[in-house]
Symmetry: C2
Subunit: 303 residues, 2 copies
């Protein structure tokens, strides 16, 4: 079964990523495995790998999950009515890291496969994924490095892929109620099968494999920069936007919480400490104002 290869890849990817992040942090990440009870409607298993109070990462996780269910959720068949109600299989690796140092950006990465298994017919498989970067204090070279890594990973699959998926990312990670992007973006794709199984799967792997080289050099450049209460406070304030996005808009989070997913794994994306403050605006000319003026707007970072 081809989807066994996907599972094998995803489990290996999770190990590689955690290995790299653990080595950077110096603290071993926790492991928490789970299996759905046989009487539950959804079947499946997963491993959460997570860190709290690390040297570099204040909180974060990288989860693998693999579920099977008797009927596709309506949200998954909006564009494929012929598959409505078919059994399905879904698996993915999902990561969010909230660094302690406010000069190091928060990052999110996800790669996933969805398969509809209509009775007596061939499985219909599609892929999704992407990664995006959320700085508190922006560095142009970091945003450029991250976007170029995404662009280079996608290049073998067609010149249209990076610009399409970059725009999709800007559109998806947008806080409508704030009229504000979540960060400097990256790439995002969903419902992807247009290259056929083998090449679509290869493209998903290319994105997954690009994560460590896209993010780790940024961590290494910024992790020792000195900071004070001022930067920590701004970080805590900006993390509120991350909470708002994930709980109000993010389809994966909402689907997980509503479908009875494992709450503590899903909410690994929540930051460790968050502050809300009424109608706060950065003062003109401060480094905080530069985040809004220069980084929280769509830019052609890979150019």
């Amino acid at each position: 079964m081809k989807t066994d290869d996907v599972r094998r890849y995803l489990l290996g990817l999770q190990q590689n990523i955690i290995g790299a992040l653990e080595a950077e942090d110096g603290h071993p990440f926790l492991t928490d495995g789970w299996v759905r009870a046989p009487e539950e409607r959804l079947q499946g298993d997963g491993f959460s790998r997570l860190v709290e109070e690390g040297a570099v990462f204040e909180r974060g996780g990288c989860n693998f999950s693999h579920v099977r269910g008797p009927t596709l959720p309506p949200s998954a068949t909006q564009h494929r009515p012929e598959l409505a109600g078919a059994p399905f299989e879904a698996m993915g690796v999902s990561l969010v890291m909230h660094p302690r140092n406010p000069w190091v950006p928060t990052v999110h990465m996800n790669v996933r496969m969805f398969a509809a298994l209509p009775e007596g017919k061939e499985p219909v498989v599609w892929f999704g994924g992407g990664m995006d970067l959320t700085p508190y204090y922006g560095f142009e070279e970091d945003a450029q490095h991250f976007h170029r890594a995404c662009r280079d990973a996608l290049a073998p699959f067609g010149d249209d892929k990076y610009p399409r998926f970059k725009r999709w990312c800007d559109e998806y990670f947008f806080l409508k109620h704030r009229n504000e992007p979540r960060g400097v973006g990256g790439v995002f794709f969903d419902d992807f099968a247009e290259l056929g199984f083998d090449d679509s799967f290869a493209m998903m792997r290319a994105v997954g494999d690009a994560f460590v080289p896209a993010y780790l050099p940024i961590v290494q450049r910024r992790r020792a920069l000195p900071y004070s209460e001022r930067e920590r406070d701004f970080q805590a304030y900006r993390r509120g936007r991350y909470v708002e996005f994930n709980l109000v808009f993010d389809r994966g989070t909402l689907f997980g919480l509503q479908s009875g997913g494992r709450t503590e794994s899903i909410l690994m994306s929540m930051p460790p400490v968050v502050k809300w403050r009424y109608n706060w605006q950065p003062e003109a000319g401060t480094p905080e104002a530069v985040l809004y003026s220069d980084f929280l707007r769509p830019r052609d970072w890979a150019a």
Copy 2:
């Protein structure tokens, strides 16, 4: 126009509540008024009254808003298909207070009126409202006092009202993904018109007027109790549940954010400082465990 009386009542209620809370806190609350630009689809105005870093209230707000729109949102006419698409008017007072002292509970109160204005027909008006209490460390006498105040306010409108609205509150303020109630509850009602305009409006007023006597004595009893980092930390952790409820489940919050409401006023319900922690459980026998075992379950508090 009868709805002018509702507006007058709500503005007076906001003033009375803020007067009582300001006197308790000692810090004047800020005032922020807003009016929708004439070219916007929704028309209306509002006043936000809010506090940050008060002596008692670390963050909180009491908002009045009044909007008119050309077509009812679908969420409002699920049970009234004959009104779909009619012009409407909605107004309300909504309050959340997050005290600094972890021995003082967080509280929420809301009273609201909705009117559909189908062309050439009589307006159709309904009311909603309620209040609920969210302790960090529970006191039975506080939960009893709060519930008895709700019960007594509703008694003139029929013996069924308190038990019905108490159950509705337990059902509404429930975090499905945590299998946990938000707090010790209170009362909640919506789509209410069964007593006719005058008495339904009177019932809404009774709930609004009951708020200060229901909550203020609890603040006064607990505000000077000493606390340490341990209690503050638990408070910050539990406030995460408040965020999760309001951003994932609360209809008023989601409707407001999705319909282009004033974000900073709507998100006054967010706590000032919040912490998330993986898979945290209280140790048996601690005061934190007592919150879960004795308070976070439906109980007949008014008995």
